[in-house]
Assembly symmetry: C2
Homo-oligomer: 180 residues x 2
Amino acid sequence: MTDNGNRPGQRPVDAADIVAAVVRQWRTVLPELDTDPMELIGRINRSAALLRQAEDAPLRRPGLTRPEFELLGALRRTGRELTPGDLARETFSSGAAVTKRLKQLTERGLVERRADARDRRVVLVRLTEAGRELVDAVLPEQLSFEADVLSGLDAQERHLLAELLGKLLTQLEGRLAARL
Amino acid sequence: MTDNGNRPGQRPVDAADIVAAVVRQWRTVLPELDTDPMELIGRINRSAALLRQAEDAPLRRPGLTRPEFELLGALRRTGRELTPGDLARETFSSGAAVTKRLKQLTERGLVERRADARDRRVVLVRLTEAGRELVDAVLPEQLSFEADVLSGLDAQERHLLAELLGKLLTQLEGRLAARL
DNA sequence: CGCCGATCATTTACGAGTGAAACACCTGTT
DNA sequence: AACAGGTGTTTCACTCGTAAATGATCGGCG
């Protein structure tokens, strides 16, 4: 494939991103360090931070935050009513956070709560018509915006990257679930 | 060309990670959606979240948060005194956050502030001896912990992944810098 | 020299998330 | 039937981050 002068003892990375610069600094100060994990984890974190910062442009227009949108999205894609507990699991946030978001989204008329008939502890949450319409309107914009942001990579690179991250994620999910 | 049916093995989408499951849900509900960006961005975000959640184990022992450690690391790897403004740029956080962290780290005796002689607006921050020792003690542990977390991928996959993310990051940095 | 806009750090007010406690309710056991 | 323990949701107290305002200082320009 690409031979980028992968000489042993010398690193293949002449990349221009910030993480590469940071790693170079570390190596000049503490040369015996194994900096490999930084190159990967640092880049994942940094990419996520950059994406989070910019990616939400189409969401901000209707005044949504990303966690709010993910909550609405979970309801939309499952197609059924979900409990706050379900939503906490689906969006990987605490129950308390879900309660707060539900409060706001209810006030805006995007979701509705109703009591469960059989078990009165549980609350069932569903999208209102307005909520469903909002998700259906925003999601394509958001996806096209994201596609644009990712357009610096060609389709093959994107798929390869997604595949590798999927593999990593599968491992992490198993490994970290075990630790909890 | 995107015949991404549910045939296992043909597309890389038979992955078992959570993002794949989410994408599958979206496709059954809104089949006309181009879900490709989700597979990539979703996985980046989710990986970052999972890593953040677990990765900091060696940091917590000495009672450090990750942002605090990154501040100390910036001082250690540059080898010079930095101003709060520098630190804000290096750690990608707001100036106010840096001020708060400096307060705590100063109280713990890990960093020191001193006034700049030429320009009395600026403050120069440096590691104390204890701070330097702490970074040097914790960093190898942290890196080895991270290497362990990443061990589900083999070396070749890790390097390929790091390389692709580096390319993405380079693009994002340019693109998003332009938007600000 | 003295003012004016710019720059740097800090303070302030506030919003959002978290873990733990509180509350309501269910279920199996005696 | 009553209770004990478990589960689901909400509330509470707290921490952390941010944006905007504040205060101090610099540099240039009339």
